[in-house]
């Protein structure tokens, strides 16, 4: 992205720091549940409450997920990495320090490809989350909930390789996909399992040096990230073009006012006083262990895209929709295989199924509609219509037993009954089986000929363009049940007869 000013053109330079919450059952350093949504402070223990004398013990699965994510991002996972204490005082940070990693992180040197761009990943490291502070629940007080304190986080830091808000958005979507595919995180920005901080600077084109960067926080959706980047870049360009210098500071995105504003600085400086965590020996990962994690890697988005194009001839647009949501893709594949008709499966899943999921309200805990790929909610874990029912419906359409129009109504009913009935049974019950019986069809055609005599006459005399209208009228007269192919043929006969 460039900002043109009177003084010249500026280039936007962006690096993103993304934190994702790992999908472990328990916390990073204690066996408390890491589940979301419990009553305040229910999931706490001496360790995550930082009671005197408590000690951390590393969660093996958190390490495995972290390694998996790092490998999926093309990083080098280091055989030895060190945890470090990062000190600051805040009521939702019980120990007064966060256990994180500093100069010996778990992984470094990866890359994420988005289209033609390769965005370098500087590092990936493991750390623990802080609790939550709620400032508006009680007057002049803050309410602290430590359920989240100690939940494992992965911090993924990119090099300042991003050059525009939309590129940043693509990076985030791609990163999110990788996290979903590796099962590492739910990456749901609304629920806080994905957080983004941006480092933004501006420089003249051709300038190899980086400008002074500001950090932008409080970004709660991908679209807000893009808007905030644009807003902050504009602000910096204005500063620079006035001949002033950009001040290094933290900015907050104010969604209400659609602008960035400086954070009220609460500390003159952030001296985190990092030192190696003495309560944890170095994390040692053998080559064998790393190889095993690499070997058990699920299919990554890029590979899935290629496979869908190659094996199922799915269109690019449909691929994007399917791949963006792994559960949708898995459902699609199951239906494609069960029905033997990938094209129809793709149409249905990206069409009716997705539309229904988006408006559905789930009773399941993490209730949220299907993602639009916007960093918002992830899909529910179940589809109301079982794979074999949808496959059956596709087969019924192909056999001509039901029309496409009728199939939509049948699908809606299948959703309602949760697949308790077969598609055929539903079609019968709703009287939606396609009627291919010539006598019945002729009866409907005759009825339409009577009601629309003028159009019928004109069609018979050769006005082919009225055929579509008349077919439509016959379909309507039949309540959608008429076999449109046969209706077409019968109409053709009438036209010939004249």
């Amino acid at each position: 992205m460039t900002g043109h000013t009177e003084a010249g053109s500026y280039e936007m330079v962006v690096g993103l720091e993304v934190h994702v919450q790992l999908t472990t059952a328990t916390k990073a350093f204690c066996p408390c549940s890491a589940a979301y949504g419990a009553p305040p402070n229910e999931n706490t223990c001496p360790v995550c409450l930082a009671l005197p004398g408590a000690l951390p013990v590393i969660n093996a699965h958190a390490v495995e997920l972290a390694a998996r994510a790092a490998l999926a991002l093309g990083c080098t996972v280091h055989g030895t990495s060190i945890f470090a204490r990062k000190h600051y005082f805040y009521p939702d940070l019980p120990k007064g320090y966060q256990i994180s990693q500093y100069d010996r992180p778990l992984a470094t040197g990866g890359v994420l490809e988005i289209g033609e761009s390769r965005i370098r990943i500087t590092r990936v490291h493991l750390e623990e989350d802080a609790g939550k502070s709620i400032h508006d629940r009680y007057p002049s007080a803050s309410a602290i909930d430590l359920n989240r304190s100690g939940v494992p986080l992965l911090e993924i830091v990119s090099e300042p390789d991003l050059r525009s808000p939309s590129q940043a958005g693509r990076y985030l979507r791609a990163l999110r996909e990788v996290m979903l595919y590796t099962g590492v995180s739910d990456v749901n920005m609304e629920e806080g399992s994905l957080r983004v901080d941006a480092n933004v600077s501006a420089r003249r084109f051709g300038d190899a040096n980086l400008g002074t960067k500001t950090e932008v926080k409080n970004l709660n959706s991908f679209s807000n990230v893009e808007r905030a980047l644009a807003s902050e870049f504009e602000r910096q360009c204005a500063v620079l073009s006035r001949g002033q210098r950009v001040e290094q500071q933290t900015m907050l995105w104010d969604a209400a006012r659609d602008m960035v504003r400086p954070a009220r600085s609460k500390e003159a400086s952030h001296d985190y006083r990092y030192f190696p965590e003495p309560d944890l020996p170095p994390l040692v990962l053998t080559d064998d262990w790393i190889d095993r994690v690499r070997g058990s890697m699920p299919e990554l988005p890029a590979a899935r895209r290629a496979r869908y194009a190659r094996d199922y001839a799915v269109s690019d647009g449909d691929i994007d929709v399917l791949v963006a949501t792994p559960v949708l893709a898995e459902y699609f594949e199951a239906v494609a295989i069960a029905s033997g008709d990938p094209k129809a499966a793709a149409n249905w899943v990206t069409g009716e199924v997705l539309a229904e999921r988006k408006t559905a309200v789930h009773a399941i805990t993490r209730a949220s509609p299907v993602s639009s790929g916007d960093g918002a909610a992830a899909p529910g874990s179940s589809f109301p219509v079982p794979v074999d029912r949808l496959a059956e419906l596709i087969a019924l359409i192909r056999a001509g037993t039901v029309s496409h129009t009728a199939a939509k109504a049948i699908y809606a009913e299948l959703v309602r009954v949760g697949g308790a009935e077969t598609a055929k049974r539903v079609a019968e019950r709703l009287g939606l089986q396609q009627v291919g019986d010539d006598a019945a069809l002729r009866a409907w055609i005759d009825a339409v000929w009577l009601e629309h005599a003028a159009e019928a006459r004109r069609f018979e005399s050769g006005e082919q363009k009225l055929k579509g209208v008349l077919v439509g009228l016959v379909m309507k007269k039949s309540g959608g049940r008429a076999d449109p192919r046969r209706v077409n043929q019968l109409l053709d006969e009438r036209a010939v007869r004249g």
Partner: protein, 106 residues
């Protein structure tokens, strides 16, 4: 090593320990003298040393299964919490805090 009053104020602020201004001279003096004793370390040849640390052979940090049960507490939190309401730990609202929770570090 001369520790100034400002040094003491700065350190005390980092450590969130309120220091009475009247104690500054004494503290600055004590800390300076203690740090003087440490100066001798600057002369030690550490080239033969590794990073240091407790001297046990290290197979690496032990890893724990990702499962409960959680470590039990014998008393409810309210038993020892200075101020709890609705299950939350209550603290005075951060003086510099405005209308968003975003200023928390992560």
């Amino acid at each position: 090593m001369a520790i100034t009053f400002d040094d003491v104020r700065q350190i005390a602020s980092l450590a969130r320990v309120g220091i009475d201004e009247t104690r500054l001279p004494v503290l600055a003096g004590e800390l300076s003298r203690i740090l003087d004793h440490m100066a001798v370390l600057a002369q030690v040849d550490v080239s033969a040393s590794d990073a240091g640390g407790p001297g046990n052979p290290e197979p690496g940090a032990p890893l724990r299964r990702d499962a409960g049960p959680p470590i039990p507490l014998s008393e409810a939190l309210s038993h020892f919490a200075p101020d709890m309401r609705g299950g939350f730990f209550i603290v005075p609202r951060l003086a510099t805090h405005e209308d968003d929770a975003s200023e928390e570090e992560t």
